[in-house]
């Protein structure tokens, strides 16, 4: 049973990865990555990593992919092929693409030799012993205990890194040249008469004086 599940999930993982690389429209690439991530979560479950699988589905296939879909919809895919339209499918581009594929194949061979030709005999085994239980390997309780004891520093560093990334994304993607005159705000409620006109709008963020 677990072998069948493994091969189904592995086929999904590899097909999703091929779809991301091959499909022309970035929107379809994002959808292929979602399929890839969900299949990868099945593999994580087979490896008894329950919490990581759940986090993978919730954080990656949920939140991060929604972010991707929004940006693809905002940027649009017609601008994606701008460079290809300017240059056309020249011989240099296809030669470089072929060279990239060859380097990738060489990388695959090298990693396979390193991983599978290793002297570790445990690679051929099914892993360490495992008995189901509320606090065994891979459950949320186990991961939480590790994160708050041995790996507390890594946990705090990760949270700080997320804070820095959030601030950095806001700084990078904000408007730099103010608002146009056509972006006036309408009066929505009677309370709007009481406070300054720009309160709570983009104009306050970019510092335009009313």
């Amino acid at each position: 049973m677990s072998s069948v599940l493994f091969f189904l999930a592995a086929a999904g993982v590899i097909a999703g990865a091929i779809g991301v690389v091959v499909l022309r429209d970035p929107f379809y690439s994002v959808l292929a990555l979602v399929a890839h991530l969900v299949s990868l979560a099945v593999l994580f479950l087979l490896l008894r990593a329950e919490f990581v699988a759940a986090a993978q589905v919730v954080v990656y296939a949920g939140a991060v992919m929604v972010l991707y879909v929004f940006v693809v919809a905002y940027v649009g895919s017609e601008s994606a092929s701008l460079g290809e339209r300017l240059r056309g499918p020249g011989p240099v581009g296809s030669g470089l693409r072929l060279a990239g594929a060859v380097v990738g194949a060489a990388l695959l061979v090298e990693i396979s030799i390193a991983l599978l030709g290793t002297g570790l005999e445990a690679v051929e085994g099914k892993g360490a012993g495992y008995s189901p239980g509320p606090q065994t390997f891979g459950t949320p309780a186990y991961i939480g205990k590790l994160l708050l004891t041995r790996f507390l520093l890594a946990f705090e560093m990760a949270s700080f890194l997320l804070l820095i990334a959030a601030v950095g994304a806001v700084v990078l993607a904000r408007r730099r040249h103010g608002l146009g005159d056509d972006e006036e705000r309408e009066l929505l409620t009677p309370l709007d008469l009481l406070r300054p006109r720009e309160t709570g709008t983009m104009a306050e963020g970019v510092g335009r004086r009313p």
Partner: protein, 99 residues
């Protein structure tokens, strides 16, 4: 299934991601292929964690997921900034740093 099968899948996913990073020109797809490479690494980490029955690999995989989320956040912010400045969304056209 023995651990070696999982490692083979992770190697294939990593190599596919590397091919995508090298061949695709849309920075959005390059970011997606970076995600593929990180996922290949994550799968190997969790397979090794299962091999030794030790949770450290799973913690490292969670940290890698956090770093990937930060990278996506900054990368998409940069793409939105490029789009706002009407620059081409193409990694081959963006060569202003070249001397």
């Amino acid at each position: 299934m023995s651990i070696a099968w999982y490692l083979a899948v992770s190697a294939i996913v990593f190599a596919l991601g590397a091919v995508g990073v090298m061949t695709r020109r849309n920075p959005l797809v390059v970011l997606l292929c970076l995600e593929l490479m990180l996922n290949g690494g994550n799968l190997a980490l969790i397979a090794f964690s299962r091999m030794w029955g030790n949770g450290d690999g799973q913690i490292l995989a969670l940290v890698v997921m956090t770093v990937a989320a930060c990278e996506v956040c900054i990368g998409l912010g940069m793409i939105v900034a490029l789009y706002r400045r009407r620059l081409p969304i193409d990694v081959d056209e963006l060569r202003e740093l070249q001397g």
